[in-house]
């Protein structure tokens, strides 16, 4: 991929800042999301909560379904591929949608390698739990980062942990003398040049969204106040009692995250949120955030 193409891909993510990207499983949901003010939709066959419930191997969605959703909306369309599954990525690129999510929500296809994203023209977003993971994905060609959180739980605790971890590491890096960066980069598996860049910028060089467990307007505003650039909501919308109302409310709360009166307004009359899961109740091998490295 040439530099200019990568730049355009980073810049598309910049245009999504302050917005909400919503998981949708069919045309009807995609239209509800667009109408509610989503800045993009993630087209997939099952939301993470159902993937978690069903177990088995979760793969890329049926391309025909993704194509239908692409036809139905005018906002950007994203789709997930398995970590390391570069052929699923080739297929999604051939489908000519807007963004690929190399996602831990699907069952990894490769436990050693993530996709070499520099070989693609289509942009990639990747999940991360800490600064090192985020910068390794950027070094591989990701144009956008999101926290992993713990998808399909309706529990925001892991997204908060990942965002706080990244912020703490960025602050450490920014405060340390430059001769300590080599050791810090080595210890955290960070490409040295990118460590210097983060030190200079005081943040990631690309857009960073929150994802994994966001279920309420308050969750979205919390993640925004912690410094992320926008939010993904997966199961949180279409597993709730009144999806359209909740989708609109999360869009409002994300845009006005710093205005408690408006977040309050957005939090009224939403009906039941999706049922949540305590992280400690999930068997270790079913934790999605641990997939990829």
């Amino acid at each position: 991929m040439d530099t200019k193409r990568y730049e355009l891909n980073v810049q598309l993510a910049q245009m999504l800042k302050g917005g909400v990207i919503m998981d949708v499983t069919n045309v009807e949901q995609a239209k509800i999301a667009e109408e509610a003010g989503a800045v993009a939709v993630m087209a997939l066959e099952r939301v993470p909560a159902d993937i978690r419930r069903d177990g088995g191997v979760a793969r890329m969605s049926d391309p025909a379904m993704i194509a239908e959703i692409k036809k139905a909306v005018s906002i950007p369309v994203m789709a997930k591929v398995r970590i390391g599954h570069f052929v699923e990525a080739q297929i999604i690129e051939a489908l000519k949608i807007d963004y690929i999510d190399e996602s831990e929500v699907l069952t990894p296809a490769d436990e050693e390698c993530h996709i070499d994203k520099t070989r693609f023209a289509i942009p990639f977003v990747c999940g991360a739990r800490n600064l090192g993971e985020a910068l390794r994905r950027i070094a591989e060609g990701a144009a956008m980062i999101r926290t992993k959180g713990e998808a399909g739980t309706g529990n925001v605790v892991e997204a908060v942990r990942h965002m706080r971890t990244m912020n703490r590491e960025i602050r450490q890096l920014a405060a340390m003398p430059v001769e300590e960066v080599t050791g810090f980069a080595k210890a955290n598996g960070i490409p040295y040049e990118l460590a210097l860049k983060v030190k200079e910028l005081g943040r990631l060089p690309v857009v960073n969204f929150a994802a994994g467990g966001i279920a309420t307007p308050a969750d979205a505003a919390l993640m925004m106040q912690l410094g992320c650039d926008g939010v993904f909501v997966g199961s949180g919308i279409f597993k709730a009692a009144a999806p359209a109302v909740r989708a609109r409310a999360i869009v409002k709360a994300t845009a006005f995250f710093n205005d408690p009166a408006k977040v309050l307004e957005a939090s009224l009359g939403l009906g039941e949120a999706m049922p949540g899961i305590e992280i400690a109740a999930i068997p270790k091998e079913q934790i999605m955030a641990g997939r990829g490295w």
Partner: protein
């Protein structure tokens, strides 16, 4: 700085605002600051005070339109516009300002242009190029199109600033500027300077290309620490 004499009577202030609901807000503010202009994000009524002009940035037009409506910002923009505040829409912002949209109802309807949303296709069709726009800059202007709309037609009283093939990329009326590309995503300050002058302000500096700009310059307004 004595800008008062240079300002036409329609001018209502010394600052420029960038509508801060969603999208490329920091990028525009960064450009305005480089021209020595007082710039601020605009989110609620009080933020409009003293604005000579407002930029509607790129983002997703459906999202922006929805937030404009539910938080009643639409009426504030229309009122301030009648009082003399100038407007510039980039990409999604141009969609919000258009008088006609292909296949859907227009939003603010403040400039007589017809716009086709997402005129090129997916992100794989996004591109960058360069064009001469004599009214705006003596040098060729770098242009960045991201899932860009197309202006199909410009009505009476609207001047076309840049035509490419059979579509229009930039147009203006006396009070409104519309560009389907993103000058804020390049190192070129020409369009921001042009808009500032249109608003009756006196932007600083002379060079259109700022060599100190790079693609991460926006991040200085979105630091974690």
């Amino acid at each position: 700085m004595n800008r008062a004499e240079e300002r036409p009577p329609s001018g209502v202030g010394d600052a420029l605002g960038v509508l801060d609901l969603q999208g490329g807000v920091c990028e525009h503010i960064d450009h305005l600051l480089r021209l020595g202009i007082e710039a601020r994000p605009v989110k609620q009524e009080k933020d409009f005070d003293g604005l000579a002009g407002l930029i509607l940035p790129g983002g997703e037009s459906t999202c922006l339109a929805r937030l404009l409506r539910i938080f009643a910002i639409e009426e504030i923009i229309l009122r301030r516009f009648r009082e003399g505040m100038k407007l510039w829409g980039t990409c999604a912002g141009a969609i919000l300002l258009a008088g006609k949209l292909v296949g859907e109802r227009p939003h603010l309807s403040l400039i007589d242009i017809e716009v086709l949303r997402n005129g090129f296709g997916s992100q794989l069709e996004s591109f960058a190029c360069e064009a001469a726009i004599p009214k705006v800059s003596d040098a060729p202007v770098p242009l960045t199109f991201i899932r860009a709309p197309k202006i199909l037609e410009a009505g009476e009283g609207v001047e076309v600033l840049l035509r490419i093939d059979d579509w229009i990329a930039a147009a203006e009326s006396p009070d409104v500027l519309a560009t389907v590309f993103h000058p804020e995503l390049t190192g070129c300050l020409a369009f921001h300077r042009y808009f500032a002058r249109k608003c009756g302000l006196a932007p600083g500096g002379k060079a259109d290309l700022d060599p100190t700009w790079d693609k991460t310059s926006w991040t200085r307004l979105a630091r974690i620490i």
